[in-house]
Amino acid sequence: MANSAEAGPVVRNRRIPVEVSGQSSPARTIPLIPARSSKLADTGFQAAMLVCGMSLLVIVGLIVLELVQRSQLSLHEFGWRFLTGQNWDPVSGDFGALPFLYGTLVSSLLALLIAVPLGVGVAVFTTEMCPRPVRGLLSFMTELLAAIPSVVYGLWGIFVLAPVLRAYVQPWLAKYFGWTTLFEGPPYGIGMLAAGVILAIMIVPIISSISREVLVAVPQTQREAALALGATRWEMVRLGVLRNARAGIVGAVILGLGRALGETMAVTMVIGNTPQIAKSLFAPGYTMASVIANEFSEATGDLYLSALIEIALVLFLVTIVVNALARLLVWSVTRGVPARALAQ
């Protein structure tokens, strides 16, 4: 390091002109061709940075390796039956993950159902309708929503959201929508519905910020063309913007789904942690992430531990697929692919 620092010039911007004019310190010449030592340093530097870059691959590789290796026992013992079994009995050593798969899927889909209209609405408002001064404030506030830790959401869910659901929302739902059989049984507050609502609040910021990115990427000419044809603002948004951003918005939604699938603490705190498959959204459930959170550190026996790690493996694979899909969709819009024709 010291060697090449001597060979190279002083790089602070202020001093370079002085040296170039050659008025001071004639001893310090600037070598036009880098000295050999700095070439060596260059190679070394590039190699070091490459190592840092490769660390990403190594980390993901390690994750896959560890998960596959440590779940061997359960993989061999249960095979595909693991995904369809409904029994989760650590005492007799019978493990089936279906209730957790079900809980993860239902709570995440419920969250999407609530969060997608909200997230896209916020994105449309901030990019297309919002007065300029409010824009920064709004994006700061959604960023804030994203910054609240999961455990704090959970705390709020237990002590504020669940009682509110129990006292007001659930009786109302049971009264007017009870016929759907989705809202049956005693309203505990804690349960699948609470998990869906809290997840929705948590993924709205992701959906809205990525949708916003996508909407901004839609060429301005699309808007101008729609307005020039006499479209109202909403028609402009619908025909000129949303249509072109469709793929990207779907990507944003799927990214939100990816986050919801893996969310742990808040869900664990409000879902009720009961491994069952109940049709009613009032009933407590369990998710893949929360069963790991609750039982992993107390798991006794290799098979039990292995089964939990297999759940983690399944969760990992699902989120990878979901995220890869989402990235591709978002890229297809923001990477500057020519916008599709207005309305065929």
Partner: protein, 292 residues
């Protein structure tokens, strides 16, 4: 009338169009209100419930057994600091290095693969990262430690910092690099002292955001740092962390502990929001002051 425009069918009569425009605007405003409502509720509850429990003892004492009044989370705050220090020591250099590689040398297939890997890693659920840290460190050492928790959080910091570093480095104008080359400055030197330095505000922003994100993480610490009721400064021992302590207090059946959970959550939020506010301030001062 010979021809009508195909773009807007007849049902788009003037008043209906104006009405639907107004309606859409109203719906958009309503969604914003619906999203900001929980934010207000959460922050409001945190302040109302939390502030009453904040006192000096909260910051200077360790937790007390059930039934006793008072006590604090001093050890958890310090423990969180310790774990985050370890996490930063791992995540920041790796993340910045990978970002430099992608921005300065990242062309071709390998670079695309690395970018994709960073995005994948960003989406891996934190609990899965926790399990891997458990398998790698805790199982080998046969005990829980702050170190394993730090590794888990460090891993989670890498992709965020990588993408942020790459993004801001790419914003440094090519002319600046060429000027450095023209002066015969070695490439590593120009990367570190000129490109990275001009982009430093942006890099710091990325680092702080990654930091704020992992500071509130609980799931990866459940079976790595594990928690501790007592003081511990040894990175090789189970260590308390503020988010963990909040979780333990929140799911307990005791009112006194619930009170402490709210206070802890308030402290955590103030720390995280404070970090983000600082980041915003730094970012607003101009991302690339040195470069232009």
């Amino acid at each position: 009338m010979p021809s009508s425009t195909p773009l807007l069918p007849r049902r788009f009569t003037a008043w209906r169009r104006v009405l639907s425009d107004r309606l859409a605007t109203a719906v958009a405003v309503a969604t914003v209100a619906l999203v900001l409502l929980p934010l207000g509720f959460i922050l409001g509850y945190l302040v109302v419930r939390g502030i009453g429990s904040l006192n000096l003892a909260f910051f200077t004492h360790t937790p007390v057994p059930v039934g006793e009044k008072g006590g604090g989370v001093a050890n958890a705050i310090v423990g969180s600091g310790l774990i985050l220090l370890i996490a930063s020591a791992i995540g920041v250099p790796l993340g910045i290095g990978a970002g430099i590689y992608l921005a300065e040398y990242g062309r071709g297939r390998l670079a695309s693969l690395l970018r994709f890997t960073a995005d994948v890693l960003n989406g891996v659920p934190s609990i899965v990262v926790g399990i891997v840290a458990y398998a790698l460190v805790v199982l080998t050492q046969k005990h829980f430690s702050a170190f394993s928790g730090g590794i888990a959080l460090g891993i989670m910091m890498v992709p965020t910092i990588t993408r942020a570093t790459e993004e801001v480095l790419l914003m440094v104008p090519l002319a600046v690099r060429e000027a450095a080359m023209g002066l015969g400055i070695a490439r590593w030197r120009s990367t570190l002292s000129i490109s990275l330095r001009s982009a430093s505000a942006g890099v710091v922003t990325g680092v702080m955001l990654a930091f704020a994100r992992v500071a509130g993480e609980t799931a990866p610490l459940l079976f790595t740092a594990f928690g501790n009721q007592f003081w511990n400064l040894n990175p090789n021992q189970p260590t308390a962390a503020l988010p963990l302590q909040i979780f333990i207090y929140a799911i307990s059946p005791f009112d006194e502990w619930h009170r402490l959970a709210w206070a802890g959550a308030l402290v955590l939020i103030v720390m995280i929001v404070g970090t983000i506010a600082v980041v915003r301030l730094v970012a607003r001062r101009g991302l690339l002051q040195g470069a232009s």
